[in-house]
Amino acid sequence: MKITSANEVNDPKNVEYKKVLVDLLYQLADDDFLHSFRGSEWLGLVPHIEEDVAYSSIAQNTMGHAAIYYELLEEIGEGKSDDLAHGRSDAVRKNAILLEEVNGPGGWLYEEPKYDWAFTVVRNYFYEVMKKHKIESLKTSSYEPLAQVAIKVQSETIYHLMHWRTWFYQLVSAEGEARDRMKAAIEKAWRDVGGLLSLGPNREAMVNTGLIDGEEVLKERFVAVVKDAFEHLNLEYPGEPGMERGDGRTGVHTADLKEAINTLAEVYNLNPAVSW
């Protein structure tokens, strides 16, 4: 079955399909949105000037990806994309918990930021590996407008994965503090990485409607890549990906998300009617 347009989604006979599609689009949009926001917080703080150019470019691209998913939601009647990005509370967000976690102690405005570069590299590498396999799968999604977006997104994300893979490999391969900090960061990220791989409560319906490959299939592909990296880098594979703090797809979140939304929506909240 293929659904070719927003109009077709809104046909009463597709009401169940729409429910599942909306869930998936919010997951994709909120994941990229939070991921990009955490990336933007690094502006001016990364280890060197060329990294500043690279990371801000990656964060900007990723914000573009979030925006296009919010626009797909707008097209099927979920509301204006700006409102979906800025105006939704933490309780209805569907991003993985790993992505909302702060970059480290401190912040931009009032305290000195002491962000953790090792954790950022690990999180970003895991995220891009997962994203690659999701996007690959979405290229044959039953919702054709989403499949078209996936082709476009993929052409940009190749460079993102290459970037974070390089950092990951180089820092783990280094001796001393770098390797120790990377190991600690991997251990920390692994406790929540399962949330990144979750497709939430509609996981089966997503497969049955042909929207995306199954959660287990995607997880296997993710694990295969990461295991290969760990083996190459002489790291012990940590075992089953954890989801200790819960599944963000079901609306479970931490205080970090609430704070992130308050910060990123501060200007929007001054006057939500202003067009961006």
Partner: protein, 164 residues
């Protein structure tokens, strides 16, 4: 002899006056951003292909296209939509566009990537292939930073984007 232009020709001519806001030697047609143009009586609908989804110039380009076409007396309404298919790739840039990029000091994207995904461009100033990639990312989403070892100039290159 008076040759009268069709409205479609006039519309396309107007679109060609819209340049990339950040690279003012290349217009959006030569960048490969123009999709279908349809005219229904006094309403013109233009499809544009976004280069990079997060590119902040997209909004400016859209406004500039609307402005340029609205200058025609025969037109009452202009609608510009970004479309995702066919996807823009760096191969969409025309031959004229490739020359225009060089004028700005930007090496045009490689026409073909190596089988391992690596690529090489020539310095836009001296033409030498003897250069190094300093950063795959650059001052905007579509550009990379390089350094020419021959003429000792830093330069930028259009980042190759392809659908695999």
């Amino acid at each position: 002899m008076i040759i009268s232009q069709t409205l479609e020709e006039k519309v396309k001519q107007q679109i060609e006056t819209v340049y990339d806001p950040e690279i003012d030697t290349i217009n959006i047609v030569d960048l490969g951003m123009l999709g279908n143009v349809s005219i229904l009586e006094k309403k013109v609908t233009v499809e544009l292909l976004p280069t990079f989804l997060g590119c902040p110039a997209l909004g400016i380009i859209k406004e500039n296209v609307i402005k340029a076409i609205s200058e025609l007396n025969e037109v009452e309404e202009v609608v510009v939509n970004y479309i995702n298919t066919p996807p823009w790739t760096s191969a969409s840039i025309t031959e004229k566009g490739r020359e225009a990029l060089k004028k700005f000091g930007i090496a045009p994207p490689p026409i073909q990537l190596e089988s391992d995904g690596s690529w090489q461009v020539d310095c836009p100033y001296c033409g030498s292939p003897y250069n190094t990639l300093e950063n795959i990312f650059g001052p905007s989403a579509c550009r990379s930073l390089l350094y020419c070892k021959e003429c000792k100039n830093p330069f930028e290159a259009m980042k190759p984007i392809s659908i695999l």
